[in-house]
Symmetry: C2
Subunit: 601 residues, 2 copies
Amino acid sequence: MTAELILNRRDLDFQIFEVNDAEALTQRERHADHSRETFVAALDAAMAIAADKFFTHNRESDEQEPEFDGKRVEIIPQVKDALQAYCEAGFIAPTQDYDLGGMQLPVLMGQAFSAIFKSANAATNSYVGLTIANANVINRFGTESQKKRYLPHMLSGRFFGTMCLTEPQAGSSLSDITTAAVPQGDGSYRLTGNKIFISGGDHELSENIIHLVLARLPGAPAGVKGISLFIVPKFMVNDDGSLGARNDVALAGLIHKMGWRGTTSTMLSFGEKGQCYGELIGQPNQGLAAMFHMMNEARIGVGMGAVMLGYRGYLASLQYARERPQGRRAGSKDPNEPQIKLIAHADIRRMLIAQKAYVEGGLSLGLYAARLVDEQKTGPDETKREEAGLLLELLTPIVKSWPSQWCLEANSLAIQIHGGYGYTREYPVEQFYRDNRLNMIHEGTHAIQSIDLLGRKVVMQQGAALELLGREIAATVKDASAYETLSANADALTIAWSNVVQTVKALAPLLKEKGELALANSVVFLEAFGHTVVAWQWLRQALVATRALKDAKGDDEINFYRGKLHTCAWFFDWELPRCKPQHELLRSLNDSTLTMQDAWF
Amino acid sequence: MTAELILNRRDLDFQIFEVNDAEALTQRERHADHSRETFVAALDAAMAIAADKFFTHNRESDEQEPEFDGKRVEIIPQVKDALQAYCEAGFIAPTQDYDLGGMQLPVLMGQAFSAIFKSANAATNSYVGLTIANANVINRFGTESQKKRYLPHMLSGRFFGTMCLTEPQAGSSLSDITTAAVPQGDGSYRLTGNKIFISGGDHELSENIIHLVLARLPGAPAGVKGISLFIVPKFMVNDDGSLGARNDVALAGLIHKMGWRGTTSTMLSFGEKGQCYGELIGQPNQGLAAMFHMMNEARIGVGMGAVMLGYRGYLASLQYARERPQGRRAGSKDPNEPQIKLIAHADIRRMLIAQKAYVEGGLSLGLYAARLVDEQKTGPDETKREEAGLLLELLTPIVKSWPSQWCLEANSLAIQIHGGYGYTREYPVEQFYRDNRLNMIHEGTHAIQSIDLLGRKVVMQQGAALELLGREIAATVKDASAYETLSANADALTIAWSNVVQTVKALAPLLKEKGELALANSVVFLEAFGHTVVAWQWLRQALVATRALKDAKGDDEINFYRGKLHTCAWFFDWELPRCKPQHELLRSLNDSTLTMQDAWF
């Protein structure tokens, strides 16, 4: 069954309905037409399309990557078919307003749908994932006229969208971008400049492509305070929605990647003929803030993408381990006994539990973040809305970075379980490993996430977000402590969190005067913080499972919950202890990286 | 300069001459014709061929992998050119006897040459690497007639060799191989069976291919005690060395891999027509012991291969980090300042130091193992010879596994330093990452190494090898303690080693009665043991550097030694502390992987 290789539906339902109480959201006015049944029906529909249309060409779109013949980009036809089915079923706008053609579903559900499609085919899903993020920016910052001109076509899938930030000479350093936008008398702008690594930057999968482009106005301040955001369509859009002339945006070339090959990654050249039309969106010099509206969502999306590649690999290796006979149990070497299945070996189970811990922990984290977005957007209590926003800001670097690191590790374990076969292209797992390696890089590298977390998020508003997360964790700890089977883990989480707080106390005072020293080991902080947050997510899941187990009926249900409890315990025994030496290193203010000299390499 | 991207020659010279005192070997009769000058000349020659002939087609042999048209295997011509130059210069037999056409160089030097070629082109080097290992088995176990028939042609590069262990249904479980060998009246055998993942199993790079094949004699005991070893040539070899008829060995297909694409990986079918000629080599049912003679060497070779892929990535990312301007220092965000080079960022330097620590630590370990082989083979003192053999047995699983894990991590860091560019095929680092992922799998997976280490090596001869390594480490600690700058690291190593010993004491008594529990977490032991051994290697290097620094002349020399000292300190501060929680887990006899149920996944 294909569906069983995409994700464990029981797990998804658990996370949505039991851990994150999706049903409670149907009490809110925005979602009043919905019920558990409509949620389930939509999940079923997503699974069906993902299995029939996305899963089926995942390897082919890796093997036959997009090609540019100098005129048009050739992509295997299954990609367009899949995206058409996706858009027709409404998955491009599930969370949008009814009057925009959306279904007014919670963001939690939107992320769950995305998760399904990402698992089935990460590359094909990228085209619409970017379009959704782009449409959200236009919806939030666009004028009425801009919304009218672009949004309906994006939310129907007629136009796709991109985000154009990176430039060849600037890389991660957005303050150094040089693309220029010059105002014309008519309120429009003419852009000139080059962008690189633009996913979905050119193709013929949709009638038009709407680029959101960071550029500078004449005389704008240097650095990030002089960046504005522009809408730049591939084809001009007439008032009636029909397409006009080709805009002066040229595909300078496709980039050939290690993985994620099904998504075109492009170099785009704006205004080679001096005729690149653009529209300012939002306020002048406020482009980065607008883009970050999109980036935060994109970062959750990246984290979820990493989770789902990990999930695919986990399920593939689980299936393989259950089917493949290999060797005998340690200590019973009698060659006349029949071989046992791979899964009976302790080390294979280690690698399966680790994968389960990483991918289900990551999924829990990503869906929790999505639930926070719902709380922030539609929560009935203003304080809770603000708190949700604060938590979300704090957790976004973790939601993005933790799965990018650990679900990639999961993919490596999936290969290892397959042995030599896993290293071949006859099996799917090597592709997931190649695909997933991107996620630590794009939408803000690992280091950038770590500087965001330690340099900004944990100290913002005098540490208000950190304190709030501490309270949330303490609440879970309190509940878990009531159960004998969870109390040791609850205690360990308390210690782990207090270690985070102590480290922040040691480093935060240095941020202003000795910023370089305070931030020198920020990636170590990101990792220790991330593991602590995911331990918390596991304890949340274990708490729900413990309560549910009491009344669980049937072997399948009991086994499911026991699996959650066992994996939670595993994470606390095997993973959380990694943090202690990390905190010790951080608090020692180790300056190895600063004192190392170039000439010593 | 290509040479500077292959390896840091200063480092190689340091490891060979200063850490491992290669010159002392010239005192031995076998190497009496040699001197530092001949060693250096041979290294220079290897560097020149590696740079001109191997380095130059590394990407091409990845992009244009070998193809099988049903008749012959097509490989880009640069591979044959390179191997020809290699063989003509004598690098296929540098350590062999003069009368076999060799140069009687120490194994230490042989591994150094291999390191150079592996860095330049891992895939192309495989063909000859396997041939050298194969020839060593024939030399050690073959009859005079077998040696005469095959060896000279292998050591001239006219014939290449393979090792045929794995079968599709058996994988790592060698006791389950079923390839059969039936004796004919004439002393020869006829083989039937299938082998998989045979590197270099077919090609036209050499005139002939000599397969070493594990198979069973009729009535042989089940399991590994019933395995014999056979020489199976692709073409029969006449007494005068000319080629006879094609033997009944067929290429059933090429395997397409994630990386290491330049080396053919094959499925071979022996005896489809019932006419597959083979010769028994060594004693009946003693094949595994003979093969392990080769495997131990192959495992050191795998470890060194992993090191050198890591080394290539390190040097590529170092060059990139020195050249690429990007962003500004943390805390000085003025966008009007010029961008700084990547290498000026703390996190980039973290990733460079980590790579340096992994690859130079791995190189030190691999060359130390090679030096032990020399001691074992040509050492003047019998006790020392035996001790060298014992140390080698103990360390082989680490030499193989540690670089496979950590130099792969180095390759991931090399990609990360390149940012988005690193993920593209326009830069070399993504290939190293793909290539290196193989090394945790072939020649005994990570888990198999760990069971070998914990289940066999640390307890063999009542722990004699472990005790011996402890004495070696204690000697380094004692020397290092005399230097104020090294004494803290020496103390840390003492504690780390005593942790290893304590863990062995806790687990060893369980091996017999509770083997499954004792070995359940053996991979964790492998990792903790490995990090401790590499910490020791770093302290050995730091000790030599400390002594040399006193009299070092010129900035280059001083900087080189300071780099060693800084990186040693980094390894102790950043890496060694990982071991403590690992030992705690091991001693707690955590049984998560055993109690986890299949139905809970």
